[in-house]
Amino acid sequence: MPVGECRQDGNPRLTGPGVNLQWPPMASTAVQPLAADTFIVVPAYNEARVIRGVVAGLFACAPRVVVVDDGSRDATAAEARAAGATVIQHLINRGQGAALRTGMDYALAHGAQVIVTFDSDGQHDPADLPALVGPVAGGECDVTLGSRFLGEAVNMPWIRRLVLRGGIWFTRVVSGIKVTDTHNGLRAFSRRAAEVIEVHQDQMAHASEILDELARRGLRFREVAVKVRYSDYSLQKGQRSTGSVKIVLDFLFHKLWR
């Protein structure tokens, strides 16, 4: 692949047994490739069926892809390695928040200037990366947050929409910041932001914690419209709406006894 040009056929082909998560071809004809010091961190737990396609899709634009295998019991690590990603393996499952922090630490140690977090289940679109990374790489802000409500949420169940609305309200009341989407795994951090943001929440509450940290540390952030596509696979694999209760309790407990 020539430098300075993004592969146009680089859509993730998420085809496995019973899985078809193929993103439509990238609309833009000239997607700017990301700089070599931009790292994509992909936390993954038992995603062997789709991880290869997700990594392949990322390599279309990103030179550095780091998959953190969070103690998977399937072939996630081998699949990610086969796709060319750097793989870091947690010996036992510690949760998505813990995996993210591990990936961020690795990226920082290897000279990352921008760190992107990207979900491993194929619900994000790699075509959103340039718009997400641009403001951080250009120094316009410290953090960009993907927002499916500014962008597009394909096949989102109504109950999920309701829970996420609740999350937006919760964040506004508890952390005092106004966002249009919470718990979206697609974000970009500047090196400075990645260094100062503390992630103590090993499980899913890390997303609320990151927003709280943005407010606490006075980091400049901006929301960027992104597309999130719900598939049968991602819905089956992903969070249950009832998990939001645990997230709220985990988050509040930690906030009280920090």
């Binding site: 780091v66 953190v68 510690r94 591990t102 630490d105």
Partner: protein, 119 residues
Amino acid sequence: MIIKLLFVTFFLFALSRAVLRFRDGNINGRELVFLCLLWIGASVVVLWPQLTMHLARVLGVGRGSDAIVYITVAALCYFIFRIYIRIRHIEQQLTGLVRKLALREAEQTPSREESPPSR
């Protein structure tokens, strides 16, 4: 009354376990003294419940058994909270350990990141 017999038997059993744990070295002397006082105290209260009337009068609670229940519930809440804090601390230490091992292993295995995959 049979209930007194059952309770006292159980408390004595718990006491014997505490002594055994002390002999194993799983608990220290201070913990043994605490557990001995707890189980002996519980046995005394079960055998002579009228003693708790004094406690109830001091606390301003109607019945002795009520006073015991209130104090027990409060103590249990406190211990559960302490255990919760302790578990969270251990979980964070565990995560730190898993992270350190993962990063160390990643440095030791030759990665392909320096040369992007050829396709």
